[in-house]
Symmetry: C2
Subunit: 142 residues, 2 copies
């Protein structure tokens, strides 16, 4: 099992299709953004992935951004293949992102998780994430 | 009262000091990031601000980022000067960011607000933001 940070040059059609299929396990209703858009030069993204030989079995993405309150990471799109859950791959992917964030000098990393996703929340807490006394709000704009 | 999007070329020492003073009203304990860091070319930021003549009285920042689940905006650092609250400036700043986000083709805009900030939450809801069934988690990394 290999955990690594995806480089734009690693992306080919097979890779992109595997990400697409894997992401569908998280959400099969939304229109996915193509990987070439995710990797456009102006997008500050750290893309951790896990391969079992040639099979993509997990991904976790982190955008980095700078505001007055800090240089931060924002994690989204964390997915582990259903057939590979319970093996600690989510933890390894998150540890990879946190390591990269620390190397990069981030002040903090933020993420959200649906209140029903008890296993994910337990994982995040075990990695040191603490719940903020804040609600998360969304406005659909298209 | 002028509401506009700040351009990097608008930033001078007086401007930077006014942002610093204003931001201290939101949080006077954290170390603020300098505006030149916020406006570095690789940081995708939309910076709305409000001036009463030469006085900076409000700011609201939005980062934009692309992940598989969408092209999104993430709002942080919304502050209105204490002496100018209750005049709808927060609404105007947020409307400016939402307008920019729509023009830019964002799929959604996200933000968080402390559960105690009832006026802010009421504002966000009145703009169409809906609370997600998700908690927000943070890991300090420095």
């Amino acid at each position: 099992m290999k955990i690594a940070i995806l480089q734009p040059s690693d992306v080919n059609d097979d890779f992109a299709q595997q990400v697409k299929d894997l992401f569908s396990q998280l959400n099969d209703t939304i229109e996915q953004v193509n990987l070439d858009e995710v990797f456009k030069p102006e997008n500050a993204i750290t893309f951790a992935y896990c391969m079992d030989k040639d099979k993509m079995v997990g991904i976790a993405l982190m955008c980095t951004y700078t505001v007055i309150s800090g240089y931060k990471g924002w994690v989204e799109d964390v997915v582990v293949d259903k057939a590979y859950r319970g093996q600690g791959l989510g933890r390894k992917l998150m540890e990879k992102l946190v390591d990269e964030g620390k190397k990069d000098g981030l002040s903090e990393i933020l993420l959200f998780s649906n209140d029903k996703r008890k296993a994910a929340i337990s994982l995040y807490k075990s990695l040191g994430f603490k719940q903020k006394d804040s609600g998360l709000y969304v406005l659909k704009t298209n």
